[in-house]
C-alpha cells in the first residue's frame, strides 16, 4: 500500500495539539493563499498598470485595482519610444552565445574529470572545486580593468567572455557523467570509437536531462545579469534588458510614463516565466540541486 495514502487517511479525524484537523487544514490553506497573494500581486499590478492609459493612470490619486478600458498603447510606446527591441535582441544574443560557450567548456572539462586519466587529476579537481568559493564581487574588479584596458568596453566580447565560466556546472555534469557505466566506454573503445565521438554520441545523449538543466539555469542567469553589463556598457546599443529597464526608469520616456515602463517590464519578464512554465519540473529540480540566485 502506498505510504501517502495511508498517512493521509490516518491524519483524518486525528486531533493534533488540541486543534481540530479540519480547522488546521483550513488555516493552512488561508496562510498559503495569503503568501500566494503576496507573490502574485506584483505581477498582477504590473500587468494591470501596463494596460492602463497614461492619462487614466496619472489621474488616479487612489490607484484603482482594475481597469475597464485596457489599452495596448503602452506596449507600442515601449517598443517605439525606447529601443526595447534592441535590448531584447542584445540579451538573446548574449544569452545564447554565453550559454553555448559555457556548455562547450563544461562538457569537455566534465568529461576529462569523469572519464579520462591523467596525472594530478584529483588535485586539479579539488582546485576546481575550491574555485566555487570565490565570490564574483572579488574578481569583477580585475575583470573590469582587464576588459577596459583591452578596449573591449561596449562590445559583446567584453560582455560575454567573463560571464562564461561556471565551476558548479562542471561539477554537476561530472557527477552525472560518472554514473554512465564504464562498460559502455570499454565497448566503444573495442569498437574503435574515439573519445570525442563517444562523448557526443553516448555521454551527452545519456546525460541530456542534466545538460538541459544547466543550460536553462545558465540562460536564466544570463537573462537576468545586471552587474557586469552595467559596469562594462554605457552605450545604449549594448544594453541588456536589466540595464535597459534601469535606463528606462532613469531617463526613459522623457516624462515619467509608468504604464509604458510597466509594459516594458511585462515584456522583459515574460520569456523567463514562459520558460519556467514549460520546464517547471526540470528547473525546480536543478535549482534544488544547488542553483543559487546571483
Amino acid at each position: 500500500m502506498n505510504n501517502t495514502e495511508q498517512s493521509k487517511t490516518a491524519n483524518k479525524g486525528t486531533a493534533v495539539s488540541g486543534v481540530p484537523a479540519k480547522l488546521r487544514k483550513a488555516l493552512t490553506y488561508v496562510f498559503l493563499s495569503l503568501w500566494a497573494l503576496v507573490v502574485l500581486f506584483p505581477f498582477y499590478w504590473m500587468v494591470l498598470t501596463s494596460v492602463k492609459s497614461y492619462g487614466a493612470y496619472n489621474s488616479e490619486y487612489l490607484p484603482k485595482l482594475y481597469t475597464l478600458s485596457p489599452t495596448f498603447q503602452n506596449y507600442a510606446d515601449a517598443f517605439t519610444a525606447v529601443p526595447l527591441a534592441n535590448y531584447f535582441l542584445n540579451t538573446v544574443l548574449f544569452t545564447v552565445i554565453t550559454t553555448a560557450l559555457m556548455l562547450a567548456a563544461t562538457v569537455l572539462a566534465a568529461y576529462a574529470f569523469a572519464r579520462l586519466e591523467f596525472r594530478g587529476k584529483n588535485l586539479v579537481f579539488v582546485l576546481f572545486l575550491s574555485l566555487m568559493m570565490i565570490p564574483n564581487e572579488l574578481v569583477i574588479i580585475t575583470n573590469y580593468v582587464t576588459i577596459t584596458s583591452l578596449n573591449l568596453r561596449n562590445t559583446f566580447t567584453g560582455l560575454i567572455l567573463p560571464s562564461v565560466t561556471s565551476v558548479f556546472y562542471i561539477y554537476l555534469l561530472k557527477e552525472n557523467f560518472e554514473q554512465v557505466p564504464d562498460q559502455l566506454y570499454y565497448a566503444a573503445k573495442v569498437d574503435g570509437t574515439s573519445d570525442l565521438k563517444y562523448l557526443f554520441r553516448v555521454m551527452v545523449p545519456l546525460c541530456k536531462p542534466t545538460i538541459v538543466t544547466i543550460t536553462i539555469l545558465k540562460a536564466i542567469e544570463c537573462w537576468n545579469s545586471f552587474v557586469w553589463p552595467r559596469l562594462i556598457t554605457d552605450d545604449q546599443n549594448y544594453f541588456l534588458v536589466s540595464n535597459g529597464i534601469q535606463s528606462i526608469r532613469e531617463s526613459g520616456f522623457g516624462r515619467e510614463n509608468i504604464p509604458a515602463m510597466m509594459a516594458a517590464v511585462v515584456v522583459i519578464s515574460l520569456p523567463l516565466i514562459l520558460l519556467f512554465l514549460f520546464f517547471r519540473k526540470m528547473i525546480m529540480a536543478g535549482v534544488s540541486r544547488g542553483g543559487l540566485k546571483g
Binding site: M1, N2, Q6, S7, T9, A10
Partner: protein, 363 residues
C-alpha cells in the same frame, strides 16, 4: 491480549483518474487471534496484509467492522491510545538519536498518570535493551549499527512501553539470508518470553511457517485459510494456498475425473468413486513421488540436482501446468541413468484435488 476482528473491511478509492470504483484491501476479516500467540499474516505483495496491520495499530481507520483488544472495542481509538508496539519494515529508528534515546522516546510521550520518573524510564529502557541483547550499544547512533542490531533496537523500542499487542511489518525483509534465520529465532524467543500477542506480516511463506503459532493466508484482501502452519500446508483449502506454501512448490497437473477415477493425461492415478466426472487440477507435493521402473506416471527427465540427503528430480510432462515439475526423492532411490525417461508412482496421501474452475479443494 486476545484480538478479535469482526467483519473488518478497508476500501481505498481506486487510483488514477480513469479507473473507477474502489480497491478492497481488506475484505470482511472475521477471526480471533488468541492471547499470547505469534501470528503470521502471509500473502503475496498487494494482498492487503500491511493494510490489515495498519488497521490493527490504528494508522488506518476501517471502512466497516470492529476491532477488539480483549473485550475493549478499540476501533475508534487513535494509535496512541491503543497501546500497541510496532516494528516498521525499515525500523524507523530516529537517526539523530542514540539507541538509548530511541528506546526512551515512547516513554517520554506518556502523560498524566502514566508519566514515569526519569529513573523508571531508564530502568525500563535498560530492561528492554537487555531483553533483545543490545545492552552494550546504548550510546551508538542507528547509523553505526548493523541491520540485525537495528532490528533489535526497533523491537526494544516497541516493547519498552509494554504494549498490549506487538505488530511487525516484514520484520526480516531488510536482513541478509543468514541474519534472517538468526533473527527469526530471536523474535520467537522474545515473543515466548514476553508472552505478548504478536502479529507480523510477511510475504515469505518459509518465514511464516517456521515461527508462527498460527498463519493467516491472504489473497486480494480475502482470508484464504487460518491455521497452524503444518495443518495449512497439509490440508490447504484451495489451490492458491496449496501453491503459495511450500518450497519447492506443489506440482500441478491438468486432470479429470472419469467414472470415479482420476486421470492425469491418460494415466489413472487414483480411485475416487464418490466424485462426479469433471475437469480438475491435481496437486502433488514434491515429496509425493516415488521413482519406480514400472511406475504408472512417465515423464521426460530434465535433470537431477543433488542436495545431499535428498535428490531433486526435474521433469516435464504434457499435463503439467508449469513448464517443469520437481520431485524430491531420497538419495538412495534408484534413478534410471543415461535415460531421458523417468517413471513415478504417487503416494496417494500426498495427492490433492482441486475443482477445475472454483479452485476449491475437492479432496
Amino acid at each position: 491480549m486476545k484480538v478479535t476482528l469482526q467483519n473488518l473491511t478497508k476500501k481505498f478509492p481506486a487510483r488514477g483518474k480513469k479507473s473507477q470504483g474502489e480497491v478492497i484491501a481488506v475484505n470482511h476479516f472475521d477471526f480471533v487471534i488468541p492471547d499470547g500467540k505469534l501470528i503470521g499474516l502471509l500473502g503475496p505483495s498487494g494482498c492487503g496484509k500491511s493494510t490489515a496491520l495498519n488497521l490493527l495499530c490504528g494508522l488506518l481507520k476501517p471502512t466497516e467492522g470492529r476491532i477488539f483488544f480483549g473485550d475493549e472495542d478499540v476501533t475508534d481509538l487513535p494509535p496512541e491510545k491503543r497501546e500497541v508496539g510496532m516494528v516498521f519494515q525499515n525500523y524507523a529508528l530516529y537517526p539523530h538519536l542514540t539507541v538509548m534515546q530511541n528506546i526512551l522516546f515512547p516513554l517520554q510521550n506518556l502523560k498524566g498518570a502514566q508519566k514515569l520518573s526519569k529513573a523508571e524510564m531508564d530502568q525500563r529502557a535498560r530492561d528492554a535493551a537487555k531483553l533483545v541483547q543490545i545492552g552494550e550499544l546504548m550510546d551508538r547512533k542507528p547509523g553505526e549499527l548493523s541491520g540485525g542490531q537495528q532490528q533489535r533496537v526497533a523491537i526494544a523500542r516497541a516493547l519498552v512501553k509494554m504494549p498490549r499487542i506487538l505488530l511487525m511489518d516484514e520484520p526480516l525483509s531488510n536482513l541478509d539470508a543468514r541474519l534472517r534465520l538468526q533473527t527469526r529465532e530471536e523474535i520467537r524467543r522474545i515473543q515466548r518470553k514476553t508472552q505478548i500477542t504478536t502479529v507480523f506480516v510477511t510475504h515469505d511463506q518459509e518465514e511464516a511457517m517456521s515461527i508462527s503459532d498460527l498463519i493467516v493466508v491472504m489473497k486480494d484482501g480475502v482470508v484464504q485459510q487460518i491455521g497452524k502452519p503444518q495443518e495449512v500446508y497439509d490440508d490447504p483449502h484451495n489451490l492458491f494456498v496449496a501453491s503459495f506454501l511450500g518450497t519447492p512448490p506443489i506440482n500441478l497437473f491438468h486432470g479429470r475425473i472419469e467414472s470415479g477415477r482420476v486421470y492425469v493425461g491418460d494415466v489413472p492415478i487414483l480411485e475416487q468413486p464418490a466424485l462426479p466426472d469433471q475437469e480438475i487440477t491435481v496437486g502433488v507435493r514434491p515429496e509425493g513421488f516415488v521413482p519406480k521402473e514400472d511406475g504408472a506416471f512417465g515423464c521426460t527427465l530434465k535433470g537431477v540436482e543433488v542436495m545431499g540427503r535428498d535428490v531433486s528430480v526435474v521433469f516435464t510432462h504434457p499435463a503439467c501446468v508449469a513448464a517443469a515439475g520437481r520431485a524430491i526423492v531420497s538419495a538412495q532411490s534408484q534413478l534410471p541413468s543415461g535415460q531421458n525417461q523417468v517413471r513415478f508412482d504417487f503416494i496417494p496421501e500426498k495427492i490433492r484435488l482441486f475443482h477445475g474452475i472454483t479452485e476449491e479443494r475437492i479432496r
